[in-house]
């Protein structure tokens, strides 16, 4: 693969594109509220398409509204693709997703301007949906359509928080849900997704970017712990079957287990519901979620086994009934080792200091891995924040990330 000369990325252009795209759905100053197929989303997709045209890319919109900007390659063949999603949380910020969609476009535009047409085709993509912020079960809607994982009946089954179906939302902006199968691609040679880190690891290491060598595996448990509701005054401690006491021991134990296992293991108890939830009544039931993640398959299995063993042990010892269901279970997704090596080499060539790390969050790249080798790049997040108007990445860091992306795309396509 060719060694890339130093690639120039214009900081003013990066800042202008990020801030301009964020105006579509602007919310509370630095926030963005842009759910899939909303008027703000339509405006953002149109803006992305115009920028692609201005850069001399040929624009195509597929059946779910993903926007593709293509630079043909002299030798043809499968495309090298880079992008991310342009929908947001409610509200999210300016960078999560959007930066990756813009990075693909800016990198290809810079390569075209500085090095002319590539050997192999390059494409930038703005994927339509990843956040499940309008439809709770839509996650990865854009990339799932590209890899052919949207069954034909699904658009009528997915219901938004506001009650409309996915089919209705698509038709309202002129998309035909019956055509979704046509969005499938089998001509992608590699997928590269740049994204903000969403965590503090790069900030603490004082590094601008990372090459991501794996996306973590995630399991979500919904656990019901049931004891006996009693009077908070008249029932002695030694006679109680108090699910709150069991929950406290389990929550503390699971969190300590992941902590002691060390990075990148993480376990989160994010949601708790207590019944009946009155101050002077010993609860009858505590229902809670466990989100536990590890990118290594064996370590992941060990983490889950320890969690389940602890939950069973505490419940049995305290005379509580325990029941759980696993309602989400995504296996770890390793990045393609050759792509990891290509981007690590590109970073060294471009004198960009970087880390190699796993992603603890899920991403479109995980879906795209079903049809193409993938790799991700992370850009440092201020305070590790995301999914909030406060998320922030500096122009310098974004430029470093896009330079690395462009250098890697150069190595793959020129």
């Amino acid at each position: 693969m060719p060694r890339a000369p130093r690639i120039a990325i214009d900081p003013a252009l990066v800042e202008n594109y990020v801030l301009s795209l964020a105006r579509h759905g602007e919310y509370a100053g630095t926030g963005v509220w842009r759910t899939v197929y909303s008027p703000e989303w339509v405006a953002a997709a149109d803006q992305y398409a115009r920028w692609c045209e201005e850069a001399g890319l040929s624009v195509r919109r597929d059946a779910v509204g993903n926007v593709w900007g293509r630079l043909e390659g002299r030798e043809g063949g499968k495309a090298i693709v880079s992008g991310s999603h342009i929908d947001t949380q409610c509200p999210g910020g300016r960078y999560d997703g959007a930066l990756g969609a813009l990075a693909g476009l800016i990198a290809i535009k810079a390569l075209k301007e500085q090095f002319g047409p590539p050997r192999r085709p390059l494409e930038a993509v703005a994927l339509c949906e990843e956040e499940s912020s309008r439809f709770p079960a839509a996650e990865f809607w854009g990339s799932r359509a590209v890899v052919g994982l949207v069954p034909p009946e699904l658009p009528d089954q997915l219901v938004a928080y506001e009650g409309e179906t996915m089919s209705q939302a698509m038709r309202a902006i002129g998309l035909d849900p019956a055509a979704i199968a046509s969005a499938r691609r089998d001509d992608i040679a590699a997928f590269v997704e740049l994204h903000i880190e969403q965590g503090p690891i790069l900030e603490k290491a004082d590094l601008p970017v990372a090459v991501v060598d794996a996306i973590t595996g995630i399991r979500h448990y919904l656990v019901e712990l049931t004891g006996e509701s009693n009077h908070a005054g008249a029932f002695p401690m030694d006679a109680r079957r108090d699910p709150m006491a069991g929950f406290a021991e389990i929550a503390g134990g699971l969190i300590a287990t992941a902590h002691r296992m060390g990075r990148p293991a993480v376990t989160t108890i994010g949601r708790v519901q207590v019944e009946p939830n009155f101050p002077a009544i010993v609860p009858r039931k505590v229902t809670f979620t466990v989100d536990a993640r590890h990118p290594d398959p064996l370590e992941r299995a060990a983490l889950y086994a320890r969690h389940e063993s602890l939950m069973r042990e505490v419940a049995a010892r305290r005379g509580l009934d325990i029941h759980w269901e696993v309602y989400m279970d995504l296996p770890p997704c390793p990045a393609d080792p050759a792509l990891v090596a290509t981007f690590a080499a590109a970073a060294r060539e471009q004198d960009i200091a970087f880390a190699t790390m796993a992603s603890g969050a899920v991403h479109d790249a995980q879906q795209m891995a079903a049809i193409a080798p993938m790799v991700m790049l992370f850009v440092r997040s201020k305070d590790g924040r995301s999914h909030t108007p406060e998320e922030f990445s500096s122009v310098d860091d974004m430029v470093a990330g896009i330079r690395l992306l462009a250098a890697g795309l150069y190595a793959l396509a020129y």
Copy 2:
């Protein structure tokens, strides 16, 4: 004081009165749903008044609707009073409150029938309200009026769950809120409240009744524990300020502290709210209540000091902000030692096996203690249950309790 001959209490009458009163507000089989001043409550109060008249007692209803049945004493003087409340939880059962109101009536009726007029006046009372089940801040409405602790502006300020004021609810059944001060009594020599235990202590000890020597002190804390909300995948365990981890340690620690202190210390975490309460987000804030009780003033102070120290220590060590407010703080209320001795002696004379214990629940007797010496009697509760249609006390146990009540009243009034 005179030694009572064996007093006969008719089991059929006890069962009939309990079941008949429970018909007013009957709910889901064995349940009762009877909030203060509701049509069911009016019917129950009327029924109680009729039974008092049938027993030859003179009936008086005071300004808040407490129903008093009086048996005059040959020598006059202050009255010996026994009763409890006739309102219920939503739904409650047949015994909590109602049994105590009926016990006073049945005991005095039996004494009158078996021993004629007493030396000192005896009164049975059905107090109108104790449960706060219609007005969240009305607690002890009946007994607070009797002891003169209802300020004149309060009836207009108390708002029901359904939105009406206490004044409106009173006027709707012909009571005048402006007359509440007239309900105050200063002519009560002793107040005796029989109540179901609401806990499992008597059941586990295989005893039908207890003489209650103190009502516990209660403090309610509302605690806010604040950390930093972060992405559940991208934020490493070692970098989190997770209030759920702190809550788990605090809840487990407080419960263990009360347990290790031993009976009658109790601590309950009954209510928890998590923000934002999503499975894949490390929470920003956990808000919870702490209900901690002890009937001994010094032990109680030690329990609270240990709780507060543990909460501060955990929060500081984990980098969490902690803030609490004490929104309820009732001091322990000792029973009158002479009355405790009188009823303990009466139990021995009547060959009724009994325990002496503290009440872990609050009761009208606690209010009445402001104007008169008081004592309570407990009747065994099946499985320690209360505030539920499943609460149950056997006829044999109720008869034992009412026999003990009658024997004590005999000692005091004959």
